[in-house]
Amino acid sequence: MHGLFRWSSKWWPGVIPLAIFWAIAAWTSTEPLEADLAQRSTAALKDTVLDKRRISVAGRDVTFAADAFSEDGRQSAVASVEAVPGVRLVEDETRLVPEAKPFVWSAERDVVRVRLGGSSPLPASKGKLVEAARASLGGVEVVDQMNLSRGAPPRFDNAALLLLDQIGKLKDGKITLSDTKVSLSGMARELGGREAIAAALKNLPEGYSVAANDIKAPPYIFQAYKDPVAVTLTLTGYVPDNNVHAALVQAAERKFFSEKVVDNLKASVGAPSGFANAVVPALGALSRLSTGTLVVSDREVKLSGDALYEAAANQIRAGLGKDFPPGWQYKPEISVKPAAAPVDATVCQQLFAELLGRGRIRFESGKADIVADSAGLLDRLIETALRCPTANIEIAGHTDTDGEEASNRTLSEKRAQAVTDYLIRAGLPADRFTPVGYGSTQPVAGNDTEEGKAQNRRIDFVVR
């Protein structure tokens, strides 16, 4: 041992090549070592959820910066970097993701893009939301402006995914989730979209509620156009359901005795309440016009066109509004068709026969009350009567053979009188008309079939 000490004083010359070795080793190994440690540290953090992760290595010292989503997560991340073999010191520059209070998330849609903003709790849910937005809005650009924050309410992902589904039903608008309160605004893409969104919001996760739903629906439009040249009535737009659809078409066929009904209606939800009750009388008013358009937009009824004579125009302008359910608005723009050239009595008779050949004046069963559906036909009869002001006209009531002859005669008289009263109310002089009841004495068809009976129940206009 003593020898070792003695000789050790002569070991120093080897230190010179050793120092050279050291220098070369330091020169060549430092950067690979740093790269290797950085890679191992990154690998150690593979399963840890962090944001803005940054690892830099100087020698064997690792500077580790990241935003963690919980204190536990932060500590375990630092510990796993410290545990990497070869790491000497860890410079801990980690911090917690800022807490958002209130936790606000929003999705805003315009025509070409959807902008996701506000806060999202974790990178995974952020990615999931962007992915879901792309999937449910094919072809629409998705702009991700979400931050990461702590403090999301429980079941945030489910709520946000459900709301993202709704953004697809909007043409434009914004959905905001502030803590657990949902607010919506904007315009639904199609009719019924507002109702669909409202229904979907009932499935929000427990604890979430709708603070404000200001989604507007596009107007619910129903249109009817009476074309005097093509002799058609074209119905377009929406009806609430198939029952209303059938009822409206039937009503149109009753009221428009000579026009062909072209039915282009589609069924859709979102109709304003009282839709059928407003549209049926409005169609009745349209049937009295020579040419006209009926536009029902939400609760606004716009009727424009030409009435056949002044009194009819006044009745249509004044009369329709009071038939409507509450909350409906009526905007008539009725002008009067220029009076047709006067004709002599024989032409008048032809015109009456032609009109009454196409449609019949209808009454309540067994009564002398004129059904509202006949207003269009009566207006045309009145217009014709106005063209031959000198002709005296017999209003002839007829019935079928059902029932006693005496009562049939009385009924036909009453019905002829009712028509005469109607004409007088329209402004025609009373002395031009003679109501006569013939009962069943002048049939135009056999009374052995229902069809024949229906033809025999009639009012004829006979120029005398």
């Binding site: 002569k10 050793l18 010292d61």
Partner: protein
């Protein structure tokens, strides 16, 4: 430490072999050795560096280089000791014969 030795074992082996060679030579070398006082000072310096390395007070790359240098130096010393010991045995065995 295990990680470091696997990372640059070549340089450590080189230091060890250098030490062996130096130890082997030192027994028969005629030159001046280091004086006792200087050796003490060098020992103090080495101890201080070791202490600094264990305390991890030298930051970053310099800290790494210090660790590297000390490990190489330690292996060099081990090599010297083994080399000297071997050479001494060879010399003392052949001396009675010579």
């Amino acid at each position: 430490m295990v990680y470091l030795t696997t990372f640059y074992w070549g340089w450590l082996l080189a230091s060890l072999l250098l030490g062996l060679a130096m130890g082997w030579i030192s027994v028969v070398q005629r030159g001046q050795g280091v004086s006792k006082t200087l050796a003490q000072w060098l020992a103090v310096l080495a101890a201080a560096l070791v202490a600094a390395a264990f305390a991890r007070i030298v930051p970053g790359r310099f800290g790494y280089w210090l660790d590297l240098g000390l490990i190489m130096f330690a292996l060099y010393l081990c090599g010297c000791a083994v080399g000297t010991w071997l050479r001494e045995r060879v010399v003392s065995r052949s001396a009675p014969a010579g």
